[in-house]
Amino acid sequence: MQAGKKNKPIHYRYFLNMGPQHPSTHGVLRVVIGMYGEYVLSIEPIIGYGHRMHEKMGESRPWQAFLPNTARMDYACALPHQHAYVRAIERMTGVAVPERAEYLRVITTELNRVVSHLLWLGAFLLDLGAFTPILYTFDDREHILDILENVTGSRLTHCYFRAGGVVQDVDDSFEPAVRACIKRMRSRFEMYDKLVTKNIIFIKRTKDIGIIDRDMAVRYGVTGPVLRGSGIAHDIRKAEPYSVYPELDFDVPTGQNGDCYDRYLVRVEEMRQSLRIIEQALERMPGGDVRTKTPKKLNLPPGDVTSTTEGARGDVTYYVAGDGTETPYRLKVRSPCFSNLSLLEELCEDMLLADLIATMGSLDLVIPEVDR
């Protein structure tokens, strides 16, 4: 794109401190940008402002106590984290999960994914300067959040999954509410198409900006919609199927040249796919109980396990090492935003400041998940 100014003498460079309080860092992230005029020469993201040492909490209390923590890392899309942690525990202890519980987990996770993508869509457009769409996306989100609040008890920090199933069954108002919500959501997509997808200013602000190729994705471990925007159809729900995803039919949207515009298209298409998944899951959901009886004191056998799910931002992997007691010996959380953010230094060299904001917005960062 524009010729960079890297060969300019150093004393022309001045530093712009973006954050930790800044409208478009989506959380407490500080980015020290070396600027030459409007061009970005060097970027250094400084993280750690929202660090709470979740992994130490996991190691110092029984494994059940970590369940609320899983929802406090990526609060925009908490259920995939909880699903990964609960599957890790089930893998270690060999607890079986009833079919109905697995379907409930898939339905609530996909609802959560749609909510998270809507939040991202509003915030991304706010970064580009459009003030109105965020209110429309929040309006849509409210409908789904009301359903999730009724099922899981809270709007964002859900604590709904347990080892061996889910906390409680859904009441009979759940299914009609979800169907109505899907119908309403589908009618909203072509409004977003008219307002955003075809808008010439939006296209000019996001086309061919922040292009991520396969080699950079491999070197930085980029996963999720950011990776799929570059044309690589890697989705854990398809690559390493878990829960009841093999029985559900959905496809993995990918972009062509990996710029902000493709990432936008991928996420909007993913919302449509999630609605398809929810519809199929609602039809195939059997009756039966939603939780297997687990002994009061469930010890984690020695040895370690990793379990992976597809979060809204990418590959969420939990590594749990047990030592025979009820407390995990080591608990590692691999958060997708950590790797997606680490490529900012290499990706955003020689960019304009406005493009840096657009690229950071398109990476869909949730900073508490980066700091853990």
Binding site: L16, E38, F131, T132, I201, R205, L352, L353
Partner: protein, 328 residues
């Protein structure tokens, strides 16, 4: 006291009263525009807008004004000294001058300068100096960026305005605003010069740093652009100046293209022309607010390209065509 008044020449009293009315109008317009903008923004976003203060939030803007006056003027350290405090004044004071020549109705016009149009366009460019000094002197990287952007933006959008206005002057071959409006009694110039109107209107939006060209105060990039460090009355001066420049732009567009005070005679007697004028102006302001709440922000180099590659060539071609047609 009355004898003193008789000695003063009548012209001087007339000017003092006119000045007082104009200043009053500037503040009234700022509150009305601010209220309209926040209410419309709410309605565009399917919400209600200010409802708490007064009936349907009518008192919201005056109360905000009082709050801003009451707020403490924070001054960051080693700030550009006197220039830091001067720039809001530079933004605020020249704002009232264009009102001298705007013809609200046939006889409601302070002075009918025969170079009225030139005078207004000269006054409009004061805003750039104020924004630049404000941004540069507040010793903050964000505002310095905002200042630089606003200078480049205003310069490159001054030219399309001039060229599009020239095509009108070619038709009426006079700069006096009153004669321009009188010329439009039979048909409005927007029918004759639609392209010139579009160029003038778009360049007007860019001139007053309004979205989608609001780069000098880009919230998501430069926190608040040139007025990041200003608080209290200094910040509200910049706001009042911005709203008044929008009004002047819309008033100019009404005078040049929408036939000033012409319209179907309303039952208000001789005030109907003034009401027509205000209605047209506030309709154009509605479109500006509409633009703000619909479009994302343009990137800086695209802004420049848009002006130099699209607006200026089109306005030149338009000027040429008008010249040919008029001279036939």
């Amino acid at each position: 006291m009355m004898t003193l008044l008789q000695q003063l020449p009548p012209e001087c009293i007339r000017i003092v009263i006119a000045a007082a009315v104009v200043i009053g109008f500037v503040f009234a317009n700022a509150t009305v525009m601010g209220y309209l903008e926040r209410k419309l923004a709410g309605r565009f976003q399917r919400r209600l807008g200010p409802m708490e203060v007064g009936f349907h939030g009518l008192l919201q803007m005056p109360v905000d004004g009082l709050k801003l006056i009451g707020k403490q003027l924070t001054e960051p350290n080693n700030v550009g000294g006197i220039v830091f405090y001067l720039s809001p004044l530079i933004a605020m004071t020249p704002v009232a001058l264009p009102f001298l020549v705007i013809p609200f109705s046939p006889h409601l016009q302070v002075i009918d300068l025969d170079v009225g149009l030139l005078f207004i366009i000269a006054m409009i460019s004061f805003n750039t100096i104020a924004v630049f000094l404000g941004g540069w002197s507040s010793n903050n990287n964000y505002s310095m960026l905002g200042a630089m952007r606003s200078v480049a933006q205003n310069i490159s959008y001054e030219i399309p305005i001039l060229l599009s206005v020239l095509s009108i002057v070619l038709i009426t071959n006079s700069f006096s605003l009153k004669t321009i409006v009188l010329e439009q009694s039979r048909f409005w110039f927007v029918l004759v010069q639609p392209v010139a109107f579009l160029i003038f209107f778009i360049a007007g939006i860019a001139e007053t740093n309004r979205a989608p060209f609001d780069l000098p105060e880009a919230e998501s990039e430069l926190t608040a652009g040139f007025h990041t460090e200003y608080s209290g009355i200094a910040f509200s001066m910049f706001m009042i100046a911005e709203y008044t420049y929008i009004f002047i732009n819309c008033a100019l567009a009404t005078v040049l293209f929408f036939g000033g005070w012409h319209g179907i005679p309303l039952p208000f007697g001789e005030y109907s022309s003034c009401i027509w004028f205000l209605m047209k102006t506030y309709l154009l302001m509605f479109v500006i607010v509409w633009c703000r709440w619909t479009f994302p922000r343009v990137r800086f180099d695209q802004l420049m390209n848009f002006s130099w590659k699209y607006l200026i060539p089109f306005s030149m071609v338009n000027l040429l065509l008008t010249a040919i047609v008029v001279k036939l």
